[in-house]
């Protein structure tokens, strides 16, 4: 069963592009450090170009990339329930299901 990762960037109601997004886990191509306190989730771009990736950036505790990546992959592989809807980071509702993550941003060329 495919699972889907849900992200909300804004603390108020998300109502614009790049403020909320749902991606299938199969779209995740890599997870990479971006800075001392951010990790990028690279995704197959939704514009179909295949050349410029969509990117979700998680802001987290200093130098905590390994834990964030581990937790995210565990969520991708979660087998404990049959719910395909996986909330990773929902700033609107202050739900961050990875320990140490405090913010999220979404970037897409589409």
């Amino acid at each position: 069963m495919e699972r889907y990762l849900y992200f909300v960037k804004t603390t108020d109601a998300p109502d614009a592009t790049q403020e909320v997004a749902l991606y299938p886990t199969s779209s995740v191509t890599a997870i990479e450090a971006a800075s001392a306190t951010t990790t990028d989730i690279l995704l197959v771009p939704r514009d179909g170009s295949g050349t410029t990736e969509d990117k979700v950036t998680l802001t987290h505790a200093d130098l905590d990339h390994k834990n964030v990546i581990n937790a995210l992959v565990a969520m991708i592989n979660a087998q404990k329930n049959n719910d395909p809807f996986v909330v990773v980071a929902d700033a609107q509702n202050s739900i961050f299901n990875i320990n140490g993550v405090t913010a999220v941003s979404i970037a897409s060329t589409d």
Binding site: T29, A33, D40, T52, I69, V73, A74, N77
Partner: protein, 228 residues
């Protein structure tokens, strides 16, 4: 089916215990430093210059004792405390030849730091794209020899570009023995044969010296990531 992600991190860390009120610490110019060893004993890639040091590395000083007036005006306090760690301002850092040079307060009243005997100075590579990442195992393209001492693992580029993401291992010239061991490991990893709790497979964490048994002890001396 479980989606395997393979985690890689280059090594990039050195620590020194100051033996005097020193400002210079040798961080490159010898194979004992670059690549040195995994787990905080060297750098996968030499610090190129002052700009590289300032922008891509973090230098911290853990003070052995309480000191008065040994930090510049840009720090929260002019004093350091025993056991306390200070992240140095990048402006205090330069590279001179093979040395990292830390400005003292008399040389830089703002960002300088007067190091004392017994202080622990640590320089560490900041994780960014290209030195820390987790790649999907099912995007593995190849394991191939680049030379008799370099084996490259390639993945479809995460950003969809033509250039692959690559992981390059440096090792001894042993007529293909190490190549085969590396290839065997990635064949297993890509096949999803590893059992774990669903989290990442730590394929090679040079920074923490967390290396799977299949890759440890086979003479790998360096691992370099490149992400398109």
């Amino acid at each position: 089916m479980k989606t395997n992600f393979l985690y890689f991190r280059e090594h990039g860390k050195l620590s020194f215990i100051a033996t005097a009120a020193q400002t210079n610490f040798t961080v490159k110019g010898a194979t004992t430093l670059v690549p040195g060893g995994f787990g905080g004993l060297g750098f996968a890639t030499a610090i190129a210059d002052s700009t590289d040091l300032k922008n891509n590395h973090r230098v911290t000083i853990t003070s052995l004792a309480d000191n008065v007036g040994n930090r510049g005006s840009d720090y929260a306090s002019a004093n350091s405390t025993a056991g306390g760690t200070t992240i140095l301002e990048p402006e205090a850092l330069t590279i001179s030849s093979n040395d990292m040079v830390i400005a003292n307060v008399s040389g830089d009243a703002q960002e300088g730091y007067d190091i004392k005997v017994g202080d622990i100075v640590t320089v560490e590579l900041i994780p960014v794209k290209g030195n820390l990442g987790a790649f999907r195992a099912d995007r593995l393209l190849s394991v191939h020899a680049n030379s008799d001492t370099a084996t490259e693992v390639t993945f479809k580029a995460a950003d969809g570009s033509a250039a692959d993401d690559t992981v390059t291992f440096t090792h001894a010239d042993d007529d293909g023995v190490t190549f085969r061991a590396i290839a065997n490991y990635f064949a297993e990893a890509a096949s999803g044969n590893f059992v774990n709790s669903g989290a990442c497979t730590i394929a090679f964490d040079g920074q923490a010296d967390v290396i799977p048994q299949e890759l440890r002890g086979i003479g790998i001396t360096n691992m370099l990531l490149a992400s398109a």
